[in-house]
């Protein structure tokens, strides 16, 4: 699966999302639940703003010195016997990983959840190599056996599915015969996946935070799947976005704390694992061979520019959990594995405006995302910046907006035209007006009235009302 998901146009995706009532209910419930947990977990600290400021200063310092810290990281990984490959493109990354797979003659690969491997379509490449690729995170596992249904949330990828749907998929694909109780479904997955960990040739993980000073990296899960992925297969490959690192364990700790509280409202998740190199000489478990693949894939174009702060992201999804637009349209509407406000900022940067020009408009600019971001990314300002670029430099503003703006520009530029325009508005809209509402608007209004009513122009203009009021004959 690439960063782009589905072939539908933006409007069709949104239409599907808006009419999927289970998904909308699930998303609304999840948003409320997760936001409440996040709020409790952050408020109990009493000085959450200081935590956010510390997160921000750490991330900004790393980005400003990214070349230095990546060099230090790679030196220290190599010192511990690990192999480091710097990949500027996803093709380079996939080619290197393909090489490792071939050298190891690997047939079975277990993976723990990783957005960056989704971004580079690694699974497709591995499957073309003839490998069986098994996602071990429960949510990812569910999506994978359901013919690669795309994820709809960064942290809870199968959020859009209910347990009956999951039971049906398990029954069809895995011969599952029990009920839709989550415990029974999870236990079935556990028993299947145990065998896979023990027989896999390679384990592949993402990376939450690498630590430059020691050449370590951390993995954050509740299930413990990443631990089995990295403990049992003989070869381990870890793929990291180039910005996901910190100077020392001390900063790692702060970012992990920000992540777990913001993502799931936990003080820490069940398992936080810090791995350094392959197993040591006499160790019995852990990988014999370790490869770290550091990926640019468009990130360096963001560095040094006006969107640099988006690289501060630690993938907690707090912004997704408070977004009113995500609440209504769901994750798949974004057409990218990165959904919600962070997705609307990041996807056009990594995937281009041609593909993702609508996303910066899928926002009310209410700023709730910016308020909850644990590393203080000014998300709604960045969305606004995207819109400026789309309109001014790319000339890609939605056509109805262009027409409306042109008309308004003409009309507002001349006092006479403005006067006439506002005077004839009620009459012009009359054919479309029922009571004081327009529910089937023409032209640029149509997009609005497709989903809600628009108030009809008032018969009395503000200017007239004001004039009359000044005269004293109205209250």
């Amino acid at each position: 699966m690439a960063m782009k998901i589905g072939a539908d146009q933006f409007k069709e995706r949104v239409d599907k999302g808006i009419h999927d009532s289970f998904m909308r209910g699930a998303v609304a419930g999840a948003q409320d639940g997760m936001s409440t947990k996040r709020r409790n977990a952050t408020e109990e600290l009493g000085n959450w703003e200081d935590w956010r400021s510390h997160g921000e200063e750490i991330r900004q310092h790393v980005l400003e010195n990214l070349d230095y810290y990546l060099e230090q990281l790679s030196e220290n990984v190599a010192k511990r016997g690990g192999h480091v490959f710097f990949a500027q493109t996803k093709e380079e990354a996939n080619e290197y990983i393909r090489g490792v797979v071939q050298k190891k003659n690997a047939k079975k690969i277990v993976k723990s959840k990783s957005m960056v491997t989704e971004e580079i379509s690694l699974n497709t490449v591995l499957e073309q190599e003839g490998c069986e690729v098994i996602e071990t995170d429960l949510g990812e596992f569910i999506l994978q056996i359901d013919d690669h249904d795309p994820p709809s949330h960064i942290v809870v990828p199968a959020l859009h599915k209910n347990k009956e749907q999951i039971r049906d998929v398990f029954a069809e694909k895995l011969g599952y015969e029990k009920t839709s109780k989550p415990e029974e479904l999870a236990w079935h997955a556990r028993e299947m996946l145990r065998k896979e960990y023990l027989s896999a040739d390679i384990g592949i993980t993402g990376c939450n935070f690498a630590v430059a000073e020691t050449g370590s990296f951390s993995l954050v899960t509740n299930e413990g799947n990443a631990d089995l992925v990295t403990a049992l297969p003989k070869t381990q490959i870890t793929v990291m976005g180039m910005e996901r690192l910190v100077p020392t364990f001390e900063e790692m700790e702060v970012l992990v704390s920000l992540l777990t509280r913001s993502a799931v409202g936990q003080k820490l998740t069940s398992y936080i694992t810090v791995l350094t190199g392959p197993r040591e000489e006499l160790d019995v478990d852990g990988p014999e061979e370790f490869h770290l693949v550091i990926i640019d894939n468009g990130r360096s174009n963001i560095l040094g520019g006006e969107f640099q702060s988006v690289l501060q992201c630690i993938r907690c999804a707090a912004c997704i959990n408070v977004c009113p637009v995500y609440r209504h349209v769901g994750g798949h509407s974004y057409g990218s594995i990165y959904s919600g406000p962070i997705g609307a900022v990041l996807s056009p940067l990594l995937g281009g405006y041609d593909e993702y020009k609508e996303l910066p408009y899928a926002s009310t600019l209410c700023g709730a995302c910016t308020e909850v971001c644990p590393v203080k990314i000014p998300l709604h300002n960045l969305l606004h910046k995207h819109r400026e670029i789309i309109v001014e430099k790319e000339g890609k503003a939605p056509i109805s907006e262009k027409l409306a703006m042109k008309a308004f520009g003409l009309g507002a530029a001349s006092p006479t035209l403005y006067k006439i325009g506002s005077k004839i508005a009620p009459a012009a809209m009359n054919p479309f007006t029922v009571g004081d509402k327009i529910s089937k608007g023409p032209g640029p209004l149509k997009a609005w009235t497709d989903i809600r009513e628009f108030p009809a122009p008032n018969k009395e203009r503000f200017r007239d009302w004001f004039k009359n009021r000044e005269k004293g004959d109205k209250k």
Binding site: G29, A30, G33, N47, W51, H54, E57, L66, D67, Y68, E71, S74, E75, V77, A78, K79, R80, G81, V84, F85, F86, Q88, L138, I142, V156, P157, P182, E183, A186, R190, N222, E223, G224, D227, L228, L232, M242, P247, T248, F249, E250, E253, V254, K267, L268, T269, S270, I272, T273, V274, T276, R279, E280, E281, D283, D285, G286, D296, S300, L303
Partner: protein
């Protein structure tokens, strides 16, 4: 240990320096003096007893049972906790502290007499360690650093302390000397850094474990026991 390979680095890092509009930085970059350090304020100045009280409360949140005992009663406490979980097979690290804490008679006499199978990690036995851990009902480990705030035990792997011991068995038990209690992850990170700076070494696997394995991936319902242990228990040793 053989040094690993590094490929494609210069081209990649030059591009970053280029984007940042400055020459490449290869020499030491000083970590700035951070303006904010809120992590140092959490449970600042708390006594070991206060930290223990926090740990106990937190265990309720993380689905973990906690028993407080002393070294005199450690053996009988472990016996009781293990039998409550249905007995063996038990797997442990090879760690001289078990013997030092008076557990030899439990491990080497009482349990074998009761036909409770105990397997001690043994590097000479290779893969058999993993097979045994996979079949075990209970794992017994020792926390090196214990985080009161989050209810977390910290384990360092080595040749005698396999990392899979904490993940493959159905039940996870950590022995927690009270002296290992610290306020939060901050102090553990400082200690890890200090160990690295004094010995030049970091354990290949450091686990921060907070209760049993769980998932909320199905309709956000919490399921305890997904890939790793289904149950978790801490035994705090008051006088250690």
């Amino acid at each position: 240990m053989m040094t690993g390979t590094i490929q494609n680095r210069d081209k990649f890092l030059n591009q970053l320096a280029n984007r940042l509009d400055r020459p490449r930085k290869s020499t030491s970059v000083e970590r700035p003096k951070w303006k904010f350090q809120p992590q140092l304020e959490v449970l600042k100045g708390a006594s070991q007893d206060e930290l223990l009280a926090v740990l106990k409360e937190q265990c309720k949140v993380i689905h973990t049972s906690i028993t407080v005992t002393d070294s005199k009663n450690l053996s009988s406490t472990i016996n009781e906790v293990v039998s409550n979980y249905g007995g063996g097979p038990v797997v442990t690290w090879k760690d001289e502290r078990f013997s030092k804490w008076g557990l030899d008679s439990l491990f080497k006499q009482e349990w074998p007499d009761q036909k409770i199978d105990l397997f001690e990690w043994d590097l000479s036995k290779g893969e058999e360690n993993i097979t045994k851990a996979e079949k075990a009902n209970v794992a017994i480990t020792i926390s090196e650093i214990t985080l009161a705030e989050s209810g977390t035990v910290v384990l360092f792997s080595d040749q005698n302390k396999g990392r899979t011991v904490s993940f493959l068995p159905a039940t996870f038990i950590a022995l927690v000397p009270k002296s290992t209690l610290v306020p939060r992850m901050t102090q553990a990170a400082q200690k890890m850094r200090e160990i690295h700076q004094t010995t030049g070494h970091v354990a290949s696997c450091i686990n921060f474990i907070t209760g049993p394995s769980n998932s909320a991936d199905i309709e956000l319902n919490l399921v305890v026991g997904v890939h790793g242990p289904v149950k978790a228990s801490y035994i705090v040793i008051n006088d250690l």
